[in-house]
Symmetry: C2
């Protein structure tokens, strides 16, 4: 069992209620070594586990989540309420509570990804261009140095050097990122890892020299395919930054060149010191 699977584990306690624990190992660590909030993708993966536990369909095809409070690394509860269970899709509300207050409100529609009606219409855009893994910039060393990184020490992210200039103090002035993505531990991608991947890259505004804690306010992601084994590629872009808000669109591609997940989040522009550094 990987640290990721432990961090996203659910314990059923009663009808529709699951105990979980936001895991510090997946918290963002600030430049001064203090831990920030647990990564939102970890909470999304945990929500998917809670909903799929009683879902008539196997995949979380559409998940929308609003982040209200910073989760503490203490016991918390997911309350799952089904709003409809249909033949093609089923929808549940999954509310994350800590100390009686709502930390995250999510709604998840589950379904199958092959059409039982046999619709064969298909169309796809092409995958993002990324240099080979060996030519990419490791964001944090998963081994050989102290795990100061929290989240960063449990994922193996290799940034396209074209989008990594900010790491060396030379941001390109374009809010986009591209990277190879996998867990530091050996584990093939699935729905839960896709939930992590859509919120795994450094915030796009780092490319505009605004490096700091950028809290997600809302994130919606769609699962579009069952990922093939192997590395994922994640590409993010932004369309507007203004009034302290920015959007970040994420596409996740599998090793078979298929678009397997899409996400978009609205977040607050970060302030404060750097939270990432380049690995060895």
């Amino acid at each position: 069992m990987t640290a990721f699977d432990e961090a996203t584990a659910i314990t059923p306690v009663s009808d529709g209620c699951y105990h979980i624990r936001p895991d510090e190992r997946f918290a963002i660590v600030f430049g001064d070594g203090t831990a920030g909030a647990v990564n939102g993708g970890v909470l999304l993966a945990t929500a998917a586990r809670a909903v799929l536990d009683t879902s008539p369909h196997p995949y979380p095809v559409a998940t929308s989540a609003h982040f209200l409070r910073r989760p503490r690394p203490e016991p918390a509860q997911f309350r799952v309420a089904w709003l409809k269970q249909g033949k093609t899709a089923a929808t549940a509300r999954a509310t994350l509570l800590q100390g009686g207050a709502c930390v995250m409100e999510s709604t998840i529609t589950t379904g199958t990804l092959d059409d039982p009606g046999g619709d064969t219409l298909s169309w796809a855009c092409g995958p993002p261009a990324l240099p080979p893994l060996s030519e990419c910039t490791r964001l944090a060393s998963p081994s050989g140095r102290p795990p100061r990184g929290g989240f960063a020490s449990h994922v193996d992210l290799r940034l396209d050097p074209a989008t990594a200039g900010w790491l060396a103090g030379r941001p390109r002035g374009v809010p986009e990122m591209r990277a190879w993505f996998r867990l530091s531990e050996d584990r093939d991608p699935d729905a839960y890892l896709l939930a992590l991947a859509v919120d795994s890259l450094p915030p796009v505004v780092f490319g505009l020299a605004r490096v700091g804690w950028s809290p997600t306010v809302e994130l919606t992601w769609h699962m579009r395919g069952v990922p093939a084994p192997g590395l994922l590629r994640v590409a993010t872009r932004c369309r507007r930054v203004s009034g302290g808000w920015f959007d970040e669109e994420a596409e996740v591609w599998d090793s078979a060149d298929r678009l397997v997940a899409q996400g978009r989040q609205l977040a607050r522009v970060g302030r404060g010191g750097p939270v990432w550094d380049a690995g060895a």
Copy 2:
């Protein structure tokens, strides 16, 4: 008061409960003249009205909605429950019920669009290229012919001819649309009209020759700016169609060339006859 404002009106009946009525005038009309479901954007605009009625902040910055059942043109209720009211943002759940069953589950985070903290970081992509209004293809004539169109007769949509080939049986094979957008009645854009605009264009899969009723399963939209008076431009694109599912991303631009709203929906590929026709 325009038909749109009437169709999205709310009547408070008790704490957090609002009576509404899904309005047939904004239903999609099928090729055979029968009315389909009321346009999802109309429901999103109504949800925004219900939440803003008691919101401490003026704008619906992030709205996510899951569509569970087809609304009937009969009385319905929005139940609004606040999950948090904070200084920067406030989040409410707004559930649309009809006959005791959930028709649409939405979560709305409200906020201001100017940063009270004074963050001045800004960045923006450019607007979509569209031919002048006079060179675009009118989708349905808002006057001079019988209003067989429902929704189509209350909006004035002018499609970029490059994305309108499907109207003449010559789809271009690319799932994208671009159009000028306004109400048929004279009314300047605001948050409610943006909620309509993000779900106003013909489904992108019409560009792949799949013309028919394409039900939205989930739609999330972000309000990014207060729109200037005048026409809006809406551009949609798709990244993958497979297994009977497709995504549709929408960007809405105002007359001052600012990106004022972004949306993304996951929908089912339509079947059945044409639901739009070219205007006079």
